[in-house]
Symmetry: C2
Subunit: 373 residues, 2 copies
């Protein structure tokens, strides 16, 4: 297989997370995405391989032709899922640029026993803030990512992309329902807004279930690091709106901002409680986690993520002061199996990964601890 080059794989961290100012300790990132479909074609699960190819061709053509879109995605061709290596594909999932589902969705080719990811491809911009998946659950899924709690710029950018695409493509749209999508939960605005939020305080004070239940009751979904169907790890939760019908786009954005601010406030209160009532227990937990990350010679991605989450809490609570937020974010991405292998530019066995991961984490922690505070 001729390897497709991914020009941004040589960066240890997505550009948008590189600045300490841009990101926050509690809200890691905000994300907005639109689901859109082309009129006159079946949804991807019902489409034939030939139809998927046609859809891909139409959208790619639009991206190349339209000036603003072409500025977003200067690479002339999208990344075809069946043209990249499994490692590259996993890398894109770990960076939250494509969905896990996008990788594993297979179609049977008409009049043939062969099946594959026909017609599936993605445009990704250079700074990894914008990506556009073709033929995922819908014909078009495009998203804008931002560090911290920040929907203003990203939602403006998302609308701009939407306008450009709409100027060249005919969307499936109903006067009564709005944009039509494969899953009813996306019908209407097709907008999903979500945040990745770190809630260790609520977990450790055992208030998390109560708080998340309340969030869920007012119409928000809670998921793990990689979205639907994934487990929560390292105290990270993804919160998103569940309904996109019956609310305006602005109302959806305002709603998630409000809920996120409430969560931040609950989390801060929980941390204050820990500071006052469980000081030595929390310090013990934080210093141990830091010590293990600083000393392990073999470490799995799961253990590293859990320890890192505790250290992140320690930094937020000022128990640890010599680690930058950038270092925490860098470790958070580099500990992932595909990111680690892409960083070292070699395929590794699980044992080799555990060894290299431990060494790399120690190196980043040593570098960050030598920086002036």
């Amino acid at each position: 297989m001729k390897e497709t080059k991914l020009s941004f794989t040589n960066r240890t961290l997505p550009i948008w997370l590189e600045s300490d100012k841009a990101s926050s300790l509690t809200v890691l990132s905000s994300r907005v995405r639109f689901a859109r479909n082309l009129a006159g074609y079946p949804f991807p699960t019902k489409a034939t391989a030939n139809e998927l190819d046609e859809i891909l061709e139409m959208i790619s053509h639009a991206v190349k032709k339209e000036e603003t879109l072409n500025k977003f995605f200067p690479d002339s061709e999208p990344i075809a899922i069946d043209k990249i290596t499994p490692l590259q594909a996993e890398f894109l999932v770990e960076r939250h640029l494509i969905s896990p589902d996008f990788l594993h969705r297979m179609t049977k080719k008409k009049d043939s026993k062969s099946s594959g990811s026909f017609g599936r491809a993605a445009f990704i911009n250079q700074d990894e803030t914008v990506s556009l998946m073709i033929n995922e659950e819908d014909h078009l899924r495009f998203q804008v990512l931002a560090a911290g709690l920040n929907f203003t710029d990203s939602f403006r950018k998302l609308n701009e992309l939407d306008d450009c695409l709409e100027s060249l493509l005919r969307y499936a749209y109903s006067q009564q329902y709005g944009f039509l999508t494969a899953c009813p939960s996306n019908v209407g605005t097709g907008l999903r807004a979500s945040v990745m939020i770190h809630l260790p305080g609520l977990v450790l004070t055992k208030e998390i279930d109560k708080v998340l239940r309340a969030i869920w009751q007012i119409g928000y979904a809670v998921r793990g690091l990689y979205g639907e169907g994934t487990e929560t790890r390292g105290y990270f939760f993804q919160i998103s709106n569940t309904v996109s019908l019956g609310q305006s786009e602005a109302e959806i954005i305002e709603g998630i901002e409000k809920v996120t601010n409430q969560l931040i406030s609950h989390e801060e209160k929980a941390r204050e409680y820990l500071s006052k009532n469980m000081k030595s227990e929390i310090e013990d937990k934080v210093f141990r986690a830091h010590a293990l990350l600083n000393s392990a010679r073999l470490i799995t991605s799961e253990e590293a993520l859990n320890l890192l989450a505790t250290v992140r809490l320690g930094v937020a609570m000022k128990i640890i002061t010599n680690i930058t937020l950038t270092a925490l974010n860098k470790i958070m991405f580099l500990l992932k199996p595909a990111n680690l292998q892409v960083f070292y530019n070699q395929e590794m066995s699980p044992h080799e990964r555990d060894e290299k991961r431990a060494a790399l984490i120690r190196q980043i922690l040593t570098e960050t601890s030598q920086l002036p505070i």
Copy 2:
């Protein structure tokens, strides 16, 4: 209760373990003890409180009167078990100067419902190498402790004590069987010789069961840190002869020395195997254990002992080079609940102990790491 002063409690470590030269990384200590009984009295379990008092009186008198014995134990009175605090008693057990059984053995006083540790007392010398229990399982149990594998001096000293006691007391002795004791396993020489040995290599290579079974088959018992009925902890094993009849004293000592040397040799081979075949796993384990001891803010004695045992292996395998053997031994004693409280001269709740223990361990490790190697 008027507190009996224990003059040696202000030492963090028994004198005999204070020198790096005297002790060894694999064999922590050697111990020899004689079991003896006075003719004309029932064994302690069958004796009345009055008889136990008489036995105590006779033995104490002999110790005070005999010049050499008096030199060993210059304190005129033995430490009466019912005259010291529970904390002091626990301290003596942790230092291996009295047996756990000695503390908990209770006698009912004749014509009374009251029961207690009547007539039970111990002489302990200043450097904690020699102790003499009165009315434990036998009327007399006296022992000599030494650092490392070293029976020569201690066995000479034990015999000297025995000769002195015999010059003033009439032992229960049979021409056919030798010295008579409460438990048949001690009949004959009444000699038990044991070593406390550290076998992490054999545990980690999973060879320990095979090796210990072989030891057991040729007549040696394997026990935990505090003797009979105690669990093995932190890879420490106590090996001792099981039979004292039908072998001369010299044969018993030679036997345990030989078995110990074989164990040392097996352990060294296991460590070589680990070095060659599981290098990163062992380094990971050692560095993590060291990091946790260096960073915990709350630690139980059990966790601390297990981590310390792994660090001890790391020092033996030269993975860690900036910790002295004395520091390892010091931590090993100070982590124990009673030793810790005696060191700080205050009674503490379990939570306070966990906090103080963690702080003290960090302090000792910091001090040792600043010493020139």
